[in-house]
Amino acid sequence: MSAEKLLEIKDLCIHYITEDGTVKAVDGMNLEVGKGETLGLVGETGAGKTTTALGIMNLIPAPPGKILQGEVIFEGEDLLKKKAADIRKIRGNKISMIFQDPMTALNPVMTVGEQIMEVVQLHKKVSKAEAIKHTQDMLELVGIPGARWVDYPHQFSGGMKQRVVIAMALACDPTLLIADEPTTALDVTIQAQVLDLMKRLKDELNTSMIMITHDLGIVAEVCDKVAIMYAGNVVEYTNKENLYRTPRHPYTVGLFNSIPSPDSDEDRLKPIEGLMPDPTNLPSGCPFHPRCPNATEKCARVIPTPIEVTPGHFVKCLEYAPGGLH
């Protein structure tokens, strides 16, 4: 974690206030992304990964969403305090996002070319012809014939739409790319191509990335460091080597145990028991305690804080706190 800081998230809290209750989608988050670094954000569905990403771009839908506190410091400035006009200059330009669901992320009544061109013309001083050329180049880059820029989203397959979304996010050479499960809609070969593309960006353009996924295999392939999220909390945060060698948090350990690996036989596969808690009514104390194999009575009472167990390895578990589990 030595790279120059690009993004720093401090004490970020994002809640959704709905009629059924308040969802603490992101609760006291602290993260850092250095220049050229890739941070993996891993967690089950509903953990708050997309909310984190939207928070960074200051795009939380309000209402019901509300950023209660925290800072998102990008290149030394707090994005959450920026004026609307200033943050628009950053969105799609310095920070861009690949959205999770390519089926709904594209506007159905505009051609994909128009949609890519839009972001190019917003942020680059180019003529229309240049913008079209750039749009076609971007499509080619993600493996779609440039001539198809005049087609509408419904004329593309799901995987191609995903690649259009990627092309759109890359069109202005972002400094920080947030990729929200960019490969879930793709088959394995295309998935590999997309990951290669991202790695190339990272190597050639020194692009920083936040890779949101629930696939620890992808993390192993592209990430430098990883934050494991559970119910709005970052429960473990460290570099990739630490995480794979010595996972500390019981939830992380559970995640690793639930991955099938070729050299272990099937019945040793242990999915984490229990279900994600009701987001509007999280358990007291550590939100993971009802599912945790090591939980004690103390875990239901005391909310854990992040502990730096070894340099650069943060774990939010009472086991590592002064006093331990009892």
Partner: protein, 310 residues
């Protein structure tokens, strides 16, 4: 696309047959004797009987209908007005320009008011603007047209004397009050539809994508969202326009405008069967054509629909 339009036009034929049969039946069973209306109650019965014979009113139902249909198909003749002895087609075409002017100006007022109000209401849901304009829209929908017309006449024609109160002889100025009368009611319906359609669309993921690109809010709303919200909006505009083309009886009456609506009401009163039948057929055709136009517009708004038109 051409094939689609042709198919739709051909599909009009059975519809028109159905419409004509229904209206013919209704007129056949309507009490009242056209001959008596034309000659007056005091005319001797023999004279009336002779006229009935001449007009073919004594023939059985199917013969009457068959004759009428044959006239249309073979000679393009919709019939002759009992009262003026003129071609029904001419009678209608005399009245149609006034109705067309009213309909177009009414719809223009409705769209210019309704669409922006709906958009602003949707982007500021539950704001004061939203609440007030939706309340006014509810009033607009429920307020009778003739009452609105009379209020307008009292204020602008009688008291302020800015605008003429009747007829169409003062060009553009004489259209203003009738257009407002017709337009406000339709504007209310359009505003409500625009609002609900926009509310649906601005929740969609692609709107978030547009914002994530750094697009300004006005373009997000007026380009990305509006274009997706347009289908139901065009539909109600089309329905309003189609309805107005059939004549706006009350408005035409209050403002003494000789339009298709008044022609129809007068003809029904006089048991002037050919004019009523021709008029209904004409109204049905214009309504269907407006509908077809709306469906064609869909294709320009939404490429997914366009690819279905074969």
């Amino acid at each position: 696309m051409h094939k689609y339009i042709l198919k739709r036009l051909l599909a009009l034929i059975p519809v028109m047959l159905g419409v004509s049969l229904i209206i013919f039946t209704m007129m056949y069973f309507t009490p009242g004797d056209p001959a008596a209306m034309m000659l007056g109650e005091s005319a001797p019965p023999e004279q009336r009987e002779a006229l009935r014979e001449e007009l073919g009113l004594n023939d059985p139902f199917w013969i009457q209908y068959g004759n009428w249909l044959r006239g249309i198909v073979l000679e393009g003749d919709i019939g002759t007005s009992y009262t003026t002895r003129r071609d029904v087609a001419d009678e209608i075409m005399d009245r149609f320009p006034a109705t067309l002017q009213l309909a177009v100006s009414g719809v223009v007022v409705a769209v210019v008011l309704g669409v922006p109000i709906g958009i602003i209401s949707a982007t500021r849901q539950y704001s004061i603007f939203d609440n007030v304009s939706m309340f006014v829209a509810l009033l607009g929908v429920s307020m009778p047209n003739f009452w609105m017309a009379m209020l307008l006449i009292l204020l602008f024609a009688v008291n302020l004397q800015w605008l003429p109160s009747s007829g169409l002889n003062h060009g553009f100025r004489s259209l203003i009050l009738p257009a407002i009368t017709l337009g406000t009611g339709a504007a209310a319906i359009i505003a409500r539809m625009t609002r609900s359609s926009m509310l649906e669309v601005i929740r969609q993921d692609y709107i978030r994508t547009a914002r994530a690109k750094g697009q300004v809010e006005s373009k997000v709303t007026n380009v990305h969202a509006l274009k997706n919200a347009l289908i139901p909006i065009i539909t109600v505009i089309g329905l309003q326009f189609g309805g107005l083309l059939g004549g706006a009886v009350l408005t035409e009456t209050v403002f003494s405008i000789p339009g298709v609506g008044r022609l129809m009401v007068e003809s029904i009163g006089q048991r002037n069967f050919p004019v009523v039948q021709g008029g209904v057929l004409f109204i049905a055709i214009t309504f269907s054509l407006v509908n077809l136009l709306v469906d064609i517009l869909y294709a320009f708004v939404d490429p997914r629909i366009k690819s279905q038109y074969k």
